[in-house]
Every structure is written in C-alpha cells, then in structure tokens.
C-alpha cells in the first residue's frame, strides 16, 4: 500500500501553503509514527492498516493541528495510539497483543526517551551499511517479499528452508541491534 496520504488541491493559496507545510511535517514524521505502531502491534499487515488509517486521520484532522501546542510527532503518535486502542478493542482475543496497561507504559517510555530512540533509528542506517551484500540481500528478500509470506515465501523462492532463513535473519537482527547500541554509545548516530 502507498504510504502517501491523499492530497487534495486547495483553491485557497494560503490553505495550500498550510497543507504543504503539513505534508512536509507528515512525511518527515512518518517513520516515527510507523515505528511507534510497530512497538504496539507487531504484525506487519496490522501495522500497514493502522498506518494508513492514522495518515488518513492526520490529514483529515490537519486543521486541528496547532503547531504552537506541541510537536507534530507527539500529536501524530497520539492519533496513532487512538487507532491502536480501537484496534485492540476489536481484536481483544488476540493473545499476541500487549495489554493496554503495558502498552501505555511503553508509550510513556518511548515519549520520555524519544531522542534516544531516534538516535537508535538513525544508527540503524549506518549499521545497515556495514552489512555484507549477502546479509542485505537476505533482509531485502525477507522483509520485502510479497503476498504476506515473509520468510516462508523468501525461503521458497530461494530454495532454502524457512527455519534456516529465519536463523539468518535473527542473526542479522542481533548484529544490527548490537551495532546500534555501539553506535549510539560512541555518539555516531547524531
């Protein structure tokens, strides 16, 4: 699905300028909203749906955004959080969802340490550059496989077992996790 919210042409140039600023903010903060959602809802398809809903709500609510009242990311994540709450109510029987109480604590911790976590995210880019071609190829195959198959599909298309491929992906995730820790420690993420 596309990550870009619908943008309508405005007849009013002032409004158009405001919309443009809003879109800039939205695009700049999309990764943070997306990461926020992944924290609370681990399944990709759910995240995609919630991300689309959030972007749509943000766009529809753009007139309510008051830049003087706080930063865009907090406002956007607040709306994303509301969508997660609704999702949780709809999917209350799912046992892989964290409870509301724990989710609230994670949100608070994320908010409190937003700068630190942003550093981690920035560090990830650097760390990915350090992966071998093969490792990066594996990630692209697995994270990018279509049809909801993930590793399973990537395994089928590569002729490897899903089990073996999963271990490789887990290993790479471990490498990246250690790398972002080290990078942030050394101040290299800024």
């Amino acid at each position: 699905m596309s990550s870009t919210p619908p943008i309508f042409e405005s007849k009013d140039s002032e409004l158009a300028a405001a919309d443009e600023r809003f879109v800039s903010l939205l695009v700049a903060n999309q990764p943070r909203v997306y990461r926020f959602l992944v924290t609370l809802v681990p399944q990709r398809q759910d995240v995609e749906d919630l991300f689309q809903q959030t972007c749509l709500t943000l766009w529809q609510s753009r007139a309510k955004f008051d830049a003087s009242a706080g930063e865009f990311a907090s406002w956007a994540c607040g709306i994303a959080h509301n969508h997660v709450r609704n999702f949780r109510r709809r999917e209350s029987t799912r046992r892989t969802l964290l409870s509301e109480e724990v989710a609230e604590l994670l949100v608070a911790t994320r908010e409190q340490h937003a700068s630190f976590l942003d550093d981690c995210h920035r560090a990830l880019h650097r760390c990915m550059a350090g992966l071998t071609t093969h490792q990066r190829s594996v990630l692209e195959d697995c994270y990018g496989s279509e049809g909801g198959g993930g590793i399973k599909l990537a395994a089928e298309s590569s002729g490897r077992s899903a089990n073996a491929l999963y271990k490789v992906v887990r290993h790479i995730r471990g490498i990246l996790h250690e790398c972002i820790q080290r990078t942030v420690l050394e101040g290299g993420a800024r």
């Binding site: 892989t96 279509e146 909801g148």
Partner: protein, 560 residues
C-alpha cells in the same frame, strides 16, 4: 539487568515480533515490562531494529508483505491456544523460564539502567556466567507455569521444574536429564544438589568428576551414567547404569557402586543396597509421536480456600462404583488449569465422611485418562493421579504450621519438629489407576516428613474405582478410605471440625509415565506474605508446607 535477563528479553522480543508468544510468555513479558523501565527500553531498542527494517522495506520499495518476524502470521496470533504453532516452535529461538526466579544466585549481579548509561556514554555492563544449556524439553514448566524451552542458558542457581523432562548439558559436557517435579541447585558445570525429583547424569566418554548432593548422600561420578533421586519421603537413591560411582553420607561409610547396583538412604540411616530397576529413571526422551503437540504448560492458580465435607446421612451407604449416585454434589468444588486448558484439564472434587470412612470423589477432565503405567517408586503420581492431603486431627487447629522445611531444620539443629510436621494424622492420599493391572491404587504417607509410606494392596480394607468417561476425555474416581488409614479410627473428624486440606491433580503424557502438568487447589491465600523475605514456595511444593494448605469444613448431617 544481567546478561541472562537481557538475552531472555531479546528472545521474548523475537517471539513477540514473530507472533509466537504463548499465554504464559506474553504474561511474563507484560509483567517484566510493567515493572522494569530498563526492560521497556531494551524492548523498545530491539523493536527499533524490526520497525526500522520494516520501514526501509516499504519506503525503499523492497516490496510489500509480511515482516520476517511474522512467522505465525495472523493464524497463530489469533489461535485459541496458549501453545506455539509448529512454525513458531521450529523457528523462533528457545525460551527459558523466567530468570529472576530461577537464578537466585545471579541476583547480586549488576543492574544497569540503560538510559542512565546512555547519558553517561557507557553501555550496560552485563554479568552472569553461563554454565549449562537446555538441550531438550518435554512438557517442562517452571515456577508458576513458566515455559522452559530449548536453548536456555543456565547459570548458577535453583532450577524449579514443576513438571516434565529437561535435558541439560553443562559446560563440562555432562548431560543431565531432570524429571519433574524437581528442584535442583546447579552450582557449577560439575556440581549440583538435587533437592527433589529424579536426575540422570551422563558423562562424556573418558571424563568423570560430576558430583550430586542429595539431602541424604553425596554421589561422585567416576566415569559413568547413573541416576539419583530425592523423594519427599526423605529417601535418596542412586542407581548405576554404566561405569561406577562413589556414594557417601556424613554419618555413614562410603561405598562404590558399579553398573547394575543401587543404594538408598533414609534420613539418619545407613547406605542400604536395594534392587536395581532399569526403569527407575528416564534415561532417554520418549520418542515423539508424529502428531504430538507439546500443547503448552498445564498449571493453575489456586482460587479456593476451603472444601466442604458432607456427612453421609445415617442409613445410607456409598457404593464405590465410580458412578457417584449417592454423592451430595452441593459440596463439589471445581478447579481448572489456566486458559486455554480450562475446558480440557479440570477437576470437580467432592469429599464426604461418616464415622467409618473418608470418601473421596472427583471427575477429572483428562484427554489421556487412566494411563498411569509407570508407577515407579516415588513417582507413582506422575502418570496421572488425584492427591488429597488431610490433617485428620482437630487438635492441630489451623492453619497448619508444620512443613518439610521445619523437619529438615529440626534435623540439622537436633531440635524437636513442630507436632504437625511429623504427625501420623497428617495424611497424604495418592489415588491413581494402574493401567497395567487395571486396578485402583492408593499410596499413603504421613506428616510433612512423609513417614510411614505404604501402598496397601487392593482389598486391604479400602476400596477405590476409576471409570473412564464415555468420550474418553476424562475419568471419575471414587474412593472409600477407613479413618484408621489416617490414624483417626478412634477419633474420626466430626461435624464442625475445620481441618487442614489440600488437593492436587497430576496429568500425564500419552504414555502415562511423565508428569505433563498439575493442579493445586484448596490453599490458604496470603500465606506467602508471611514469608516475604524467604524463598517463595512453588505451588508444586505446597503439599510440603502446612501454612499453604486450605481447609476442609466437616458439615453436619442433613438427613437427606
């Protein structure tokens, strides 16, 4: 956080992103995240990797679809079971029991607040040394139903195995097969103390030197394979399968044993040769059936404090036929394992009495009913059983104070134990169906020292019957046990008595050998608060701890 804790949290993260958390691991993760900010931050940083890669994939056009973490996808995420799907078990890393409760010894390790370290530009320093690793598991659960899965790194500490089978390999290449219920203190790669349960030790070829202490003896391996057991009755046994061992006791002469020999020792007794029984210990994991599913951890949270004991109306008799037609069902209590097993593994228990007998009945939900085939000495309960504990002595009052702990302490100090610790009228009644003979069996032991253990033959004054449910998903058990078996024949309980009591049910694997899980109920709420600064008593050991027992209220006759 210790290194083990961080490693475990990362594994939980992997299960989370894979959609492979079970009820118990989800609960564990939630409890951890709820109480520990450092854990939340580790969790969030780990999720940053997963989220960041997902974002890269969608924004750089790697494609669309499921993240690699989404192994089980929606099907597993919504599955109405606490168990992992086959996909999950195959691919997510193994998960251990909760570290803080297992690894008491590592509590002294350094706790580092991640964000504080970040501010000071230092990364956490983790401590804790792995000395062994879990190699295989079967129906293994730890304290409070914690799952124990393959790959867990173990450090020095207490291993509390509530049920199932666990294979561990130490850093010295020693293989340990621990059968639950068991408690084992792992000291280092060559030294363990078995407090309760069955343990098989297998050394690598050409190596020796592993030492197992039990409450009654010390066993030193001299290049071999051997089994060691420690029972609640205070009996320790060693049996040699290959090579030889040396068995010693503080106040008894040491002996060397070779393959085919067995020794046992009771508290204060001598090392006594006994009969070697090949099947006394489980040396190999039973082969898995092609369709076998571990099915998650069976355990319950006790929610009942009392059971009412109905008086049998005068002139009426109970026919022990497993039909329960004569029973006053108004006194029935129901208990069940935690979801998603509540509808499959449950019990409806009842008690009645008259001047002559204690009557026990239960309808047990059990998909593998009446398969108890092991009946191994000291492990009769493991293949499926109902156990009732009753302090048939109104003078003891309540709550009970005695315990196995008190017995051990008094032995060490040479002081007198509490009266109920060694009372003949504190009875353990173990009821099971022997699948080999097709007969109901009864085992009795007394006091918290489990003295006087006896398995009276059928027809020796008691009667019992097991009947399988028509649908094969459970059984009914009915027993009449004369009060004299509880040493209360001269003064049986009467209306108005409130006596200490506890119920347990054990479920087995399909072979009727291995303990698959257990239920413990009729317990006294809040008893553990009285032990705030002491080690928690796991539910599987409540029976050894009087203050944990609930109560049985003996009702007056109603004349129905």
């Amino acid at each position: 956080m210790t290194k083990h804790e961080v490693d475990r949290l990362k594994v939980l993260c992997e299960h989370y992103v894979a959609g492979c958390l079970t009820n118990s691991t989800l609960e564990e993760l939630e409890q951890w995240l709820a109480r520990d900010e450092t854990a939340r931050l580790v969790f969030l940083t780990y999720l940053e990797v997963h989220a960041g890669l997902g974002w890269e994939a969608r924004s750089l056009g790697w494609g669309r679809g499921t993240m690699p973490g989404d192994l089980a996808h929606v099907a597993a995420a919504t599955a109405p079971t606490g168990a992992q799907s086959a996909d999950c078990r195959a691919r997510v890393p193994a998960l251990s029991s909760r570290t803080p409760l297992w690894w008491v010894g590592s509590l002294a390790t350094v706790l580092v607040v991640l964000i504080g370290i970040w501010f000071t530009m230092r990364w956490p320093v983790f401590t804790g040394e792995s000395i062994a690793k879990v190699r295989d598991v079967r129906h293994a659960s730890g304290y409070g139903g914690r799952e124990l899965l393959v790959g867990t790194e173990l450090s020095r500490g207490l291993l509390d195995l509530q049920s199932g089978l666990l294979e561990i390999e130490t850093n010295s290449r020693v293989t340990l097969i621990l059968e639950g219920p068991a408690q084992m203190q792992l000291h280092d790669a060559l030294h363990a103390t078995l407090l309760r349960g069955n343990l098989v030790v297998r050394m690598a070829k050409g190596e020796s030197g592993f030492v197992v202490n039990t409450p009654q003896m010390k066993v030193t391996d001299l290049g071999t394979e051997f089994g060691v057991s420690a029972t609640p009755e205070g009996v320790s046994r060693v049996q040699v399968y290959e090579g030889k061992v040396r068995a010693e006791a503080a106040d008894a002469a040491g002996l060397e044993l070779v393959a085919g020999q067995m020794l046992s020792r009771q508290a204060g007794g001598a090392l006594t040769p006994g009969t070697f029984k090949e099947d006394r210990f489980i040396r190999q994991f039973p082969p898995r059936r092609p369709d076998e599913d571990e099915g998650g951890v069976l355990y319950n949270r006790s929610h009942l404090e009392r059971v009412r004991v109905a008086a049998l109306p005068s002139g009426k008799a109970v026919v022990i036929d497993g039909r329960l037609d004569e029973w006053d069902r108004s006194v029935a209590f129901r208990s069940a394992c935690e979801p998603p097993f509540a509808s499959t593994y449950h019990v409806e228990g009842m008690m009645m009495y008259d001047a002559a007998n204690l009557y026990l009945a239960a309808q047990v939900g059990d998909p593998e009913p009446m398969r108890n085939a092991g009946a191994r000495e000291g492990m009769e309960f493991a293949g499926g059983s109902v156990i009732v504990r009753l302090a048939a002595d109104r003078e003891l009052g309540g709550p009970l104070k005695g315990s196995a702990e008190d017995v051990a302490m008094s032995r060490r100090k040479g002081t007198a134990p509490l009266p109920d610790s060694v009372s003949d009228r504190v009875a353990n009644l173990i009821l099971w169906h022997d699948a080999r003979s097709g007969q109901a069996r009864l085992k009795l032991a007394y006091g918290f020292d489990s003295h006087g253990t006896v398995i009276p033959e059928p027809g020796a004054g008691w009667s019992g019957r097991f009947v399988k449910d028509d649908d094969g998903r459970g059984y009914t058990v009915e027993f009449a046990i004369p009060w004299r078996f509880l040493h209360a024949g001269q003064d049986p309980p009467r209306a108005g008595d409130v006596l200490g009591a506890l119920w347990m049910v054990h479920w087995s694997d399909a072979d009727g050998i291995l303990c698959r899980g257990q239920m413990v109920d009729i317990t006294r709420p809040g008893f553990d608060r009285e032990r705030e600064h002491l080690r928690k008593i796991p539910p599987g050991s409540y029976f050894q701890f009087g203050p944990a027992w609930g109560r049985a209220e003996f009702l007056p006759a109603t004349g129905r």
